[in-house]
């Protein structure tokens, strides 16, 4: 018999609605799975067993009473430890916040609670979402369920690995330069970074405010569609959240993609990309063609500027966003005899190496005399990158690209070479700079049996188009049915 945790979210949603299983049974199954596997994977920072079972019980009672419930009601999910959860420790996997218990819920958490979701715990990540391998966590790295010696990707590595290993039916992460899509690719699950402004950022610990966006992970495209629908939409607490209607994404999941125009950009097939990845992605594109899609060549000429542009803008914003961790009001405080010493020691001891590196970079690029050359110039290039996409989408409906130039690399492999590490986000960063939605789903495996993800990029607020293509591809392939053995 298949254990409950091994089904997809959508399948379990049906079973719950038909009362074939209860949320308590499902939650117990998931909690047991977590217990069996969490030490191997190092995915969970905090488990909320008791409140999870309590919620599950309440949902079951509601269902018995015949209340109309959300498709997500009673479904166990987990959150990257960057979402503020009232009364539940939220650390961002930083020593500086290791004891921080938030006084309020993020908007995403509030909406999930309104959907009667069962929260089973908080997931490991790179400190302050800075990293591509999950090795920058003060709680140690997450292991990739497909190969425990390898990285799950980052920064939402815990979220991707937990979903891949069936420790939850869905998870939420954040994506500033690829932090949802790259780990989804490396762990063989589905993940979407929606349009900037689609999901409220209120109550999510900020890394780079103009790039950060929330998104879900799931085993299937439909699972992710359910999860995004639940949290998307205008929030009066976030001035940058868009006042636009949220469609029911599950209504767009059809298999017919005849005539859909798919753009392929040559700038996304570069030297240094692993041959197996390139081959697999091309095969996926051929497959789309067979399904009836029209393949069109498009050009995104400023693509090569994306990584440097990103590391100017993201670090500048981060240097300011992280100024509040000064030991005054909450979090870690070093012992010191003067104010200046308290600041220096608190931040020196509380932040990890990568975070400090980025704060210094960002402080530098904003400095008087350098602002125009760096931050301002980067903002201008950002506009050019955005225009590239505007132009491309005049000729196609969606753009399909590889997600990461490599499959999961070994833990420790790139830790001493930050530049090499930064390049693992080379295909994902542009979407953040342009504010575009992008989804990643499994499209094959390399010779080491490591998953490879296909990225689908769409125009602003056209997530439903992306879901449509992703679903058609998923349903006509078998990749999503492979599971790692943990």
């Amino acid at each position: 018999m298949i254990p409950l945790y091994d089904y997809s979210l959508d399948e379990l949603s049906q079973k719950l609605q038909k009362k074939e299983v209860s949320s308590v049974e499902l939650t117990q199954s998931v909690l047991k799975r977590i217990e069996e596997t969490k030490a191997k994977l190092n995915t969970f920072i905090t488990l909320t067993k008791e409140s999870a079972l309590q919620t599950a019980k309440t949902v079951d009672q509601k269902r018995i009473k015949g209340e109309v419930l959300s498709p997500l009601a009673g479904i166990p999910i987990a959150l990257k430890d960057i979402f503020l959860t009232q009364g539940i420790k939220t650390t961002c996997c930083s020593k500086i916040l290791s004891q921080f218990i938030p006084p309020y819920d993020s908007t995403v958490v509030k909406r999930l609670k309104q959907n009667d979701v069962v929260l089973v715990g908080k997931l490991n990540m790179d400190e302050f979402a800075m990293g591509s391998s999950n090795e920058n966590s003060c709680f140690g790295p997450v292991k990739n369920p497909w190969d425990l010696e390898r990285t799950p990707g980052g920064s939402s590595g815990g979220s991707a690995a937990a979903v891949a290993a069936s420790q939850c039916l869905g998870a939420f992460g954040t994506d500033t330069g690829g932090s949802i899509r790259q780990p989804a690719s490396l762990c063989g699950v589905v993940g979407i970074k929606p349009t900037y402004g689609r999901v409220s950022r209120y109550g999510i610990i900020a890394f780079a405010s103009s790039l950060d966006q929330v998104g879900p992970f799931g085993k299937r495209v439909k699972d992710v569609a359910h999860l995004l629908k639940a949290v998307a939409g205008r929030d009066s607490m976030d001035s940058t959240s868009a006042d636009m209607k949220v469609p029911d994404y599950t209504q767009f999941l059809t298999k017919d993609i005849k005539g859909l125009k798919i753009g392929i950009a040559k700038e996304y097939f570069i030297k240094g990309m692993e041959a197996s990845t390139e081959k697999v992605v091309h095969k996926a594109i051929d497959h789309l063609k067979k399904l009836g899609a029209k393949i069109i060549d498009v050009s995104l000429p400023h693509t090569s500027y994306a990584v440097p542009t990103y590391y100017l803008i993201a670090t500048a914003e981060a240097s300011s966003n992280l100024a509040r961790y000064d030991g005054v009001k909450y979090g870690y405080r070093a012992k010191a005899s003067t104010l200046q010493e308290m600041y220096r020691k608190t931040r020196g001891e509380g932040f990890g190496r990568e975070v400090k590196r980025r704060i210094m970079l960002g402080t530098f690029v904003l400095s008087s005399g350098y602002y125009d050359a760096y931050y301002k110039k980067a903002s201008q290039v950002r506009t050019l990158i955005k225009r590239d996409f505007d132009e491309a989408f005049k000729h196609c409906d969606l753009i399909v690209t590889p997600t990461s130039p490599t499959t999961a690399f070994k833990l420790g492999e790139k830790m001493e070479d930050p530049l090499q590490m930064y390049l693992s986000d080379i295909f994902t960063i542009s979407a953040n700079l342009a504010g575009l939605p992008g989804l990643v789903l499994p499209c094959g495996f390399d010779e080491k049996n490591l998953p490879i993800g296909l990225q689908i990029l769409g125009p602003h607020f056209k997530e439903e188009k992306i879901f449509h293509l992703a679903y058609a591809y998923e349903q006509s392939t078998e990749w999503h049915q492979r599971k790692p053995t943990v």
Binding site: L84, T90, C92, L97, F100, P102, P103, Y104, S106, R201, Y202, G203, I204, I205, A206, A208, S209, S210, S236, M237, D238, S239, T240, A316, E317, S319, S320, L322, A323, R324, D326, V328, K329, Y330, L339, Y343, T363, L366, S367, S368, Y371, Y375
Partner: protein, 468 residues
Amino acid sequence: MTSYEAVIGLEVHAQLKTKSKIFCGCSTEFNAKENENTCPVCTGMPGSLPVLNKKAVEFALKMAMATQCTIHEKSIFARKNYFYPDLPKGYQISQYDKPLAVQGKVGKVRIHRIHMEEDAGKNIHGTVSSYVNLNRAGIPLIEIVSEPDMRSSQEAGEYLRELRSMLRYLDICDGNMEEGSFRCDVNISIRPLTQKEYGTRAEIKNINSFRFVEKAIEYEIERQKEVLESGKRVVQETRLWDSEKNQTFSMRSKEEAHDYRYFPDPDLLPLQIPNTWIEDVKKSIPELGAQKKERFMNQYGLTEYDAGLLVQEKELAQYFEEVVQICQQPKLASNWILSELLRETTATQIAASPISSKHLGELIKLIQKGTISGKIAKTIFEKMWNSGQSPKTIVEKEGLVQVSDENVIRQWVEEVLKNNQKFVDEYRAGRTKLLGFFVGEIMKKSQGKANPATIHEILKKKLDSKGE
């Protein structure tokens, strides 16, 4: 010896009196308990985001319009980054290269810019520990930066009072320097009268009264003069005013100045001000002090000095006009308010005066009609102040109505003349100065109630008709 001229520019921070803070819904009430008016947003909790208070923008727009500034259709909020315990996010949300408004004018002084920002909290230093109170953090401020157009402490004082009056007329700021809702930094340099270029300036902070602003400027002019006369150079620096020693002292030099690393705040969209909004706000701008003063002079024939005093506070000007409306005597009303009422209370407290504008108007009307004498009116005024009763009530209760009945007055006159035959003779012999003495005696006899004009008339007739 070289003659010098001071060049002065002022930066004024005015707290806007919106009900809630600029980026969250917390109350701005002044007397709350420590950290009572705080939430995740104004305490800079991780994950919190600012949402702009529209009312604060509206208030700032009012000032921008009152100072004839050009309002930017699109302005940008920027982060000013620095570390201080009273600054919970590690940056202040302010405006930098695209402020709300630029290029205005207040009297002769040009306004460089007006921008919006959030206030910081307050550090409180105990003997062992220091504390932070964040009630003030996030209260909306406007910063009004003048051009260096003032040349003396007096001009600076006048400009500052005018700004304060505008803010109070617009009802957008208390203008209370002692409580810190109106704060002023002074930029000052001096130069030889013959020199065109500005000298090196010092910035003076921490001045919490109008008088201190003037004193600090005067002190600084003398200090910089001495520096130059001794052959040294003025250093560009920030100085603080010490109100006990009556002097400024150096806080930090330019070299130690912060690099604030301003950049556009990505959490806030650009502030768009459509024309329709500007038009709406324009309609809500009342007549301001300067215009009112002009009008008072023209409409009521008041002197510039009196009109200036009456318009110093909106409430006072309003009180005056209410009194005039009842008594139709603008000059009398002005005199009574300026010399009698303001002896008892202040312009800002006028609304709480126990003598309402209606009652004062009625009092003046009673004098005008001759119902009471001017002398009795002062007594009645005192009683009104103490009891809050109407002049009519007091007059009736105490029988203070002026006596104009000729028969009654004639009797008092005759009695007084009879009792002072000696002086009557002297008067008739040419000592006409004695007239005042007779009037005083008659008034005394009437307990102040006799109509002085009637006394005069009858008395003259009696004295001049010799041998009756």
